[in-house]
């Protein structure tokens, strides 16, 4: 495959536990320049945790993380902003890096929210705020983008456009993307590597390989409409409430 110089972040058997309970463990994956790696899995399977391990937000981890870039753009799944701060979209755009006006305007135009530039962040709708979050992450032209359900709350047409934008950014900036998404259509058509999580890595590989996987077929076939929430794959193991994995 590609040489080591292209690796942006690499997880080696990484895991994280909170209050003696494993949120996720034994995850090995790597994100390379120009590639999109997608994490899929049911709720509570450790997707966001894995992203936070990769970002270095969680420090007391099992295994190891090798991070080769500091130019990172992050769209978190949940973000709570304290409204004691008077913060406009424009102020939010330059939060972690100073950018000139053209760069800010370009990013906001790409995600379709340039008209909100001088609005107070607290006055935005969920979908609008999500577009601002994405604009902020791409505006600094990062080498590594970590997008945790970046289009949640965005309207249907906007969702498709934003996914196309993400793909385009990956090509143009040649940045690596770690994507968490529930939209299997996007996952299968636009990404280079899929990792299926359920507290640990259930299966992983190219979309074609994963699509051939029996566990994945069970999910993609008759249950396609309810995509991941009812994801029941053929396990050779069970998960206990403590996050232990027992072989059958």
């Amino acid at each position: 495959m590609s040489s080591n110089q292209n690796i942006l972040v690499k997880l080696n058997e990484a895991g994280f536990s909170l209050n003696n309970k494993w949120l996720v463990r034994g995850v090995s994956l790597q994100v390379e320049k120009g590639k999109i790696v997608t994490l899929i899995g049911p709720n509570g399977s450790g997707k966001s945790t894995t992203a936070k391990i990769a970002l270095g937000i969680y420090k007391k981890i099992d295994g190891s993380v090798e991070k080769y870039t500091n130019k990172v753009g992050y769209v978190p799944q949940k973000i709570t902003i304290d409204w004691t701060l008077p913060l406009r979209v424009n102020d939010f755009m330059v939060l972690t890096e100073s950018l000139n006006k053209e760069t800010i305007d370009e990013a906001l135009s790409l995600t379709g929210v340039i008209h909100l530039k001088d609005k107070n962040l607290g006055d935005l709708s969920g979908g609008e705020f999500q577009r601002v979050l994405l604009a902020r992450a791409i505006s600094k032209k990062p080498e590594l983008l970590v997008l945790d359900e970046p289009v949640q709350g965005v309207d249907f047409t906007g969702e498709i456009a934003l996914y196309e934008l993400i793909k385009k950014i990956s090509d143009e900036l040649n940045c690596g993307i770690l994507l968490i998404s529930h939209d299997l259509h996007t996952v299968m058509s636009a990404t280079d590597h899929v990792v299926c999580l359920n507290g640990h890595v259930c299966c992983s590989g190219s979309p074609i390989d994963v699509a051939k996987n029996n566990e994945y077929k069970a999910l993609f076939g008759e249950q396609a409409s309810q995509i991941l929430s009812r994801y029941e794959h053929r396990h050779d193991h069970v998960h206990t409430s403590e996050g232990e994995i027992k072989k059958n």
């Binding site: 970002l55 102020d91 972690t96």
Partner: protein
């Protein structure tokens, strides 16, 4: 010119207000007002130690307040007590120890009221140097850590993920808080320093639409409070600290009127 005690007090007060403006904004944004109280209560201990060892008050207060802040961080890591309980524990125990130490220092004449509420007569040329040099240093350091501190105030995980090292910024900010208390204690008095930090900033929040504006208005509000407060202190022979804080309260109330007007305009 600096021979006149009132000019000295004015120059000192202006120096203090320029620094408390931006720091006060962070105190409000990061919800640190009770933390400020704890540090300033512990300052009494610093003052008494300074008197008993004939050491400079500002340095002594800075060291004691920094130690209290570090103790707090350690206690937060090692105990399961909630933050406000730990703050209360440190605030009142250091205040109590400070008062007990005063009791032992009966041979020194203490102006306890001046200590608690500020005394413009007590501002010396040395104090001016400490306020202005210390103030410039505080502002320089704040400028250096502004980006990570502000980003982590908005969202810790974004700042951490994008490589800004928010923990270091937070630790440095804690030291700056101890420093501002040390340099403003003579002007405002240790019971009212937190008021000087938060009231002008709270006033600024009411009338500003961006963080930069809030910092600017907070500085202006602080300056006006100092000037108004000191003149009325001179006029009515009241303690300088309460006069300054009362003036800032007056400005805060004015800013509330402003909000009502702007709501009317919107409608």
């Amino acid at each position: 010119m600096l021979d006149d005690f009132f000019i000295r007090a004015l120059v000192a007060g202006i120096g203090v207000a320029i620094v408390t403006g931006p720091l006060g904004c962070f105190v409000i944004w990061r919800r640190l007002s009770y933390f400020g109280d704890t540090l300033s209560h512990s300052a009494l201990l610093g003052v008494t130690l300074a008197y008993s060892m004939e050491f400079n008050i500002a340095f002594s207060v800075f060291i004691i307040s920094s130690l209290i802040a570090l103790t707090l961080i350690q206690l937060q890591k090692r105990t399961n007590l909630p933050g406000d309980a730990l703050l209360g524990l440190l605030a009142h125990s250091s205040l109590a120890v400070g008062l007990v130490v005063i009791g032992f220092l009966s041979f020194i004449r203490f102006d306890i009221m001046g200590l608690l509420f500020g005394d413009i007569l007590a501002v010396t040329v040395d104090d001016l140097l400490i306020i202005w040099i210390g103030g410039v240093l505080i502002l320089l350091v704040l400028k250096l850590i502004w980006k990570p501190l502000f980003a982590s105030t908005v969202n810790y995980e974004l700042a951490e993920a994008e490589g800004l090292n928010p923990d270091r910024a937070k630790a440095i900010f804690t030291i700056l808080m101890a420093a501002i208390i040390a340099i403003s204690i003579k002007m405002v008095g240790l019971l009212l320093i937190t008021g000087m930090l938060i009231i002008p900033a709270a006033m600024a929040r009411n009338i500003s639409s961006s963080p930069q504006k809030m910092v600017m208005y907070s500085i202006i509000g602080g300056l006006l409070s100092v000037i108004l407060g000191l003149f009325s202190s001179l006029e009515f022979n009241t303690a300088s600290g309460p006069s300054i804080i009362a003036a800032s309260l007056f400005l805060f109330i004015l800013s509330l009127l402003n909000i009502k007007q702007s709501i009317k305009l919107k409608n």
